[in-house]
Symmetry: C2
DNA sequence: CTTGAAGTGGAGGATAGCCTCCAGTAGAGT
DNA sequence: ACTCTACTGGAGGCTATCCTCCACTTCAAG
C-alpha cells in the first residue's frame, strides 16, 4: 500500500526547512482554517496571525496573498475528504453512495466560503476538484452500474446539488437530514 | 378586486412626503437592490449612495442602519414573489406546484445574501417569511391533497432545499434545470 | 562555538468604509 | 411670491484592515 493519496498540490514544497519556521507555517494554516470557517473568506489576516501567535510579517512571507492562504487551506481539506472516499469501498453500491454523500454533506458547510472565493480562476481549485471527482467517481459509477442510481445523472450534478442544499440553513439537523433524504430519493433509479 | 397583496410591512409609511425626497428614497432602494445582488450584503453604502445620485447623508437619513436598508430591499422582493404565487392558481395541482417552485428558484439567487444577513433576529424577516409561506401554502397543499406530492414533507423543507440548491453554482442553466428536476422527482409521491 | 543565512514580528503608512454634522437648498402650503 | 421647514450632500473624523519594510533573533551546519 504505497502512499494512497499524495498531496494535491505541493503545499509540502512550500513548507519552510527550518523547524521553527515550519511550526509557524502550520500554526498559520490551522488558524486560517478556523478563521475562514468561522468568519468567511474575509476573515482578518491580522487576526489569523494573532491567533497563530505569529507576527503579521510571518504570515505574509508564507502566504503573500490572501488567495495563497485560501488555496492552502482548501487543498488540505479536500485531501481529507478524498481519504474518506476510500473508507466506503466495501459497502453495498447504494449504501456506499449514500454514505459517501453523507460524508460529503458533512464536509461542505465549512468549505462553502472557500469554494466561492476560489471559483474564479484558481489553478489549484481545478486540481482539487478533479482530485475529489476522481475519488468519488468509482463510488458513483458502481451505484449506477448496480442499477441503484438513476443513469441520467452526472456526478457533477450530485455534487453541486448536495453542496447547495447543505449550505442552506435549516431549523435543525433533523430537517437537514430529511431534506437530504428527499434528494437521495430523487437520485434513486426507479 | 381590492388590493390583492398589501405591503408586508409599512415601507410605504417610511416614504417621505416631499416629491424629491420620495424620488431619492426610491433611488436608494433601487441602487441598494442592485448592489446587494451584485456584491453581497456588505456592499459599500457610499457606493450605493453614489449610484443613486444621492449624498451619503440622504441614505443615512432614510435608512439609519445597514439592516434597515436590507430589510426594505428584502421586503420589496418578497412581495413580488407573493404576487407570482397567485398566477398559478388555475393550473393542475402538480403543475402549479412545479411552476411555482420554478419561479421561486428564479427568485432565490439574488436574495440569498439577504436571507442570510437577516436570519438573525429581524422582525421583518419573520413577517416576510410567513407572508411567503402563506402565499405558497395553498399551492403546496393542493398538490399534496391531489396525491401528487409526497405527504411526509413540509413546505418549509421544500423552500430550504430549493433555495440551497439554486444558490449553488452550476456549469450552465441546463445543469441547474436538471438538478432541479431531480429534486422534484424526489418530492413526487410514488 | 561560531557564524551567517533563514526567519521573525510589529511599527507605520496607505486605503477604504462607516457615520455624524450642519450650512445650504428647494418643495409646498398660504 | 414668500416663507418655513423638510430635506440635501459631502467634508471630515474614526476605525479596521491591508501590506511593506527592516532591525533583530534563532536555527543548524561546519
Amino acid at each position: 500500500m504505497s502512499t494512497p493519496t499524495r498531496p494535491i498540490l505541493d503545499i509540502a514544497a512550500r513548507r519552510p526547512h527550518r523547524a521553527d519556521a515550519r511550526r509557524n507555517f502550520d500554526a498559520v494554516l490551522a488558524a486560517a482554517r478556523e478563521a475562514f470557517a468561522a468568519h468567511g473568506t474575509d476573515a482578518s489576516l491580522e487576526d489569523i496571525a494573532r491567533r497563530a501567535n505569529v507576527g503579521i510579517g510571518t504570515l505574509y512571507r508564507n502566504f503573500p496573498t490572501r488567495q495563497d492562504l485560501l488555496e492552502a487551506v482548501y487543498a488540505g481539506e479536500v485531501q481529507e475528504l478524498c481519504l474518506g472516499a476510500q473508507a466506503v469501498a466495501e459497502l453495498e453500491p447504494w449504501e456506499a453512495f449514500t454514505t459517501w454523500v453523507d460524508s460529503f454533506a458533512r464536509y461542505v458547510p465549512t468549505k462553502l466560503a472557500l469554494l466561492q472565493a476560489l471559483n474564479k480562476d484558481s489553478e489549484i481549485f481545478r486540481a482539487c476538484k478533479s482530485a475529489m471527482l476522481a475519488s468519488a467517481l468509482p463510488i458513483f459509477e458502481r451505484a449506477q452500474q448496480a442499477g441503484a442510481l438513476r443513469p441520467d445523472v452526472e456526478l457533477d450534478d450530485v455534487l453541486r446539488m448536495i453542496s447547495g442544499m447543505i449550505g442552506s440553513t435549516y431549523a435543525d439537523d433533523a430537517q437537514r437530514q430529511r431534506v437530504l433524504g428527499i434528494a437521495l430519493d430523487g437520485l434513486r433509479a426507479r
